[in-house]
């Protein structure tokens, strides 16, 4: 049974993690225009803004016929996807369009809706708001078949520049095309290391298949996964006043992944979508010195890779290995290098010899995830922890390893319990 203190509840989120988001940061997240400005400044891709309406005068003086055949009209400070009109294409006459829900809409109606937005009908506390027109995201093919209309997106929670958990959000009929879990969208968990989906939840119910289809929720590989994680981490780096943030990323057919918006109070249901607790992950990452977004992504992949032990075991059976094994390590040059490793169930973490790591190019600054201070008989010693990929008995293992001086020892690599799930160890000899 899982310890309940590993789970992030409302109390812990509010008291321990939302304190990393200050008022300025929340202001940026609450305004889609401010968010865009900050992200653009950092060179990150966002859907283009075609027009901002700040006053009723703007609404009347604007030449609406200049708008393209598809676009989105949104409130700047809207929430929960309210007040958004998505235009799919032009209708027969100039100044008429088709909306995503299949209704015809004309310029007077659009004007009226914009005025409603300005009056604050869709903003928090009904404060006066601005409205804007944005280019429409055209869903990349792979998602069209999973979502009911609307635009599916990927929510990544980033903390301290490290993406800690992610889910795919699929709009449903009930959510009326919105990707909001509160409104009934499906949350599909994603393995951080590979971008492959694992579990799914909708309104507190766990799903095996996507409703209305025979598609299993697990095993979908998301395209551009690395780009997504890096974008998410970079978005948090760009708006550093938000230390703990949900980044929503959409896939555009032409432009690839783009950042749609930031959420300063991301919800907790992502834990059910992944069937994994969030608090333990946050604790792992808190206080780490993360150099930049790329570094953060590397840490995430090493720390939070899903262990598919159960599934692998079901497919291949338990693999028997000996107490020493020849493994192949992925070097910086992408070459696979064979070394002999000791299988050590007495150690938790895998550990690699300093000279070997150096030789393989694994001690480059960007591959060092963090350093750990270890108190030994010779006083304090700093040991780097690096990202490491190796093949053991034909299985690829993505993990992290401590770097130690093993010069006088027989094996330059020991493999700890953390990476031995799904193996059975024969105490004597090789496999």
């Amino acid at each position: 049974m899982l310890d309940s203190s590993f789970i992030l509840g409302m109390n812990a989120r509010n008291r321990l993690y939302l304190i990393y988001n200050n008022k300025r940061g929340r202001k940026v997240a609450d305004s889609k225009i401010l968010t865009k400005k900050r992200l653009l400044k950092a060179g990150l891709p966002v859907p283009k803004v075609l027009k901002i309406f700040k006053s009723p005068d703007d609404v009347f003086s604007f030449d609406w016929t200049k708008l393209p055949e598809s676009f989105v009209l949104k409130p700047v400070s809207g929430f929960g996807g309210q007040g958004i009109i998505i235009i799919r294409g032009r209708a027969k006459y100039a100044g008429e369009w088709w909306t995503m829900s299949g209704e015809k809409i004309d310029i007077p109606t659009l004007r009226l809706h914009t005025l409603d937005i300005l009056a604050g009908q869709y903003s928090l506390h009904n404060f006066p708001d601005w409205a804007f027109v944005e280019e429409r995201i055209k869903i990349a093919g792979i998602f069209r078949k999973y979502a009911y209309r609307g635009t599916p997106d990927v929510r990544v929670i980033v903390f301290n520049k490290v993406p800690v958990m992610a889910m795919l959000r699929l709009p449903t009929k009930e959510s009326q095309g919105k990707a909001n879990l509160h409104q009934g969208a499906i949350g599909v968990g994603i393995d951080l290391a590979t971008g492959i989906t694992n579990h799914a939840v909708c309104r507190g119910k766990f799903l095996k298949y996507i409703p209305g289809t025979k598609r299993k929720v697990n095993g979908i590989k998301l395209p551009y996964w690395n780009t997504i994680l890096t974008l998410a981490a970079k978005a948090q780096e760009a708006v550093s006043e938000l230390g703990y943030v949900g980044v929503d990323i959409v896939y555009d057919k032409a432009h690839g992944p783009m950042i749609l918006e930031l959420n300063a109070r991301p919800g907790l249901e992502i834990q059910n979508a992944n069937l994994a607790p969030l608090k333990r992950r946050l604790e792992r990452v808190e206080g780490l010195e993360v150099l930049n977004a790329d570094h953060g992504v590397r840490i995430a992949k090493a720390l939070f890779a899903g262990r598919y032990a159960d599934r692998v075991m079901a497919e291949e059976g338990v693999k028997i290995i000996g107490s020493k094994e020849e493994v192949k390590i992925l070097a910086a040059s992408k070459k696979r290098v064979s070394v002999w490793a000791k299988i050590d169930t007495g150690a938790w973490r895998t550990s690699i010899d300093k000279n070997l790591a150096k030789e393989l190019g694994l001690l480059r600054k960007e591959n060092i995830l963090w350093t750990k201070v270890i108190k030994g008989s010779l006083g304090k010693e700093e040991r780097p922890i690096i990202g490491l990929t190796f093949w053991l008995a034909g299985r690829k293992i993505n993990t992290y390893a401590g770097v130690a001086n093993r010069e006088h020892l027989r094996r330059p690599l020991i493999i700890g319990r953390r990476d031995l799930e799904g193996f059975l160890i024969k105490p004597r000899g090789e496999s």
């Binding site: 049974m1 899982l2 789970i7 509840g9 409302m10 008291r15 009904n126």
Partner: protein, 210 residues
């Protein structure tokens, strides 16, 4: 408790001597316990309700009017507010004008209620204002979510009423007011620092806990 710490007891005696009703005094002193109870329901159990004000004021109504009359009047107000909201939907009124108009309706209905429920005037006036609270959540949160929050509020208020009308508790707080105040203050601070799961979250994340 040492005599030096009994800073409230003389005041309690003084108030009783001046003719303040013991029950009223007890309820006054139990107020912090009521608010602590409401805060604890949120952070320990996960009952959101409508903040602190509405459940507290409803508790007062129940104490003043009696639980049955109180509940009856409350539902009367709730139905009137929902009805008023539906009736004024097509009017396209400014927000405050609309609220004011609905309260106009509530006032009339509550006035009619006097003939069915025997209640002090204060409770009626408070209930009319509770109507404004209910209206605000119904408008801002939508009917479905609002009904959930209102039900939670009602449950808290009923428990609050049970708590405050408990005679043993009333006697104890008059006998040892200092202990109550110190304990409730400490309780709030402990509660405010609590970062564990709420009771309802154990249910929400039960699959994770398996």
């Amino acid at each position: 408790m040492p005599a030096s710490l009994s800073f409230l007891k003389p005041l309690v005696f003084l108030a009783l001597e001046r003719g303040v009703e013991p029950k009223i005094l007890a309820i006054l002193l139990l107020f912090p316990l009521l608010t602590l109870f409401i805060a604890a329901s949120r952070y320990l159990v996960g009952i959101k309700a409508l903040g602190i004000f509405t459940p507290v004021i409803l508790t007062i109504v129940f104490l003043e009017a009696g639980i049955l009359s109180g509940l009856g009047l409350f539902f009367l107000v709730l139905i009137t507010v929902s009805l008023g909201r539906a009736l004024t939907r097509g009017f396209h009124l400014h927000y405050l004008a609309r609220v004011s108009l609905i309260i106009w309706l509530v006032s009339i209905v509550v006035f009619g209620g006097i003939f069915f429920f025997k209640t002090p005037l204060v409770a009626l006036l408070i209930l009319i204002l509770v109507g404004e609270n209910l209206l605000e959540v119904e408008i801002s949160r939508g009917t479905k979510e609002a009904l959930g929050l209102i039900t939670e509020t009602l449950i808290l208020a009923v428990f609050g009423w049970l708590l405050l009308s408990w005679e043993w508790l009333q006697k104890s707080v008059l006998a040892e007011p200092e202990i109550f105040l110190i304990l409730t203050a400490a309780g709030n601070i402990l509660l405010g620092r609590f970062t564990g799961l709420r009771l309802l979250e154990y249910k929400r994340f039960r699959r994770l806990l398996k």
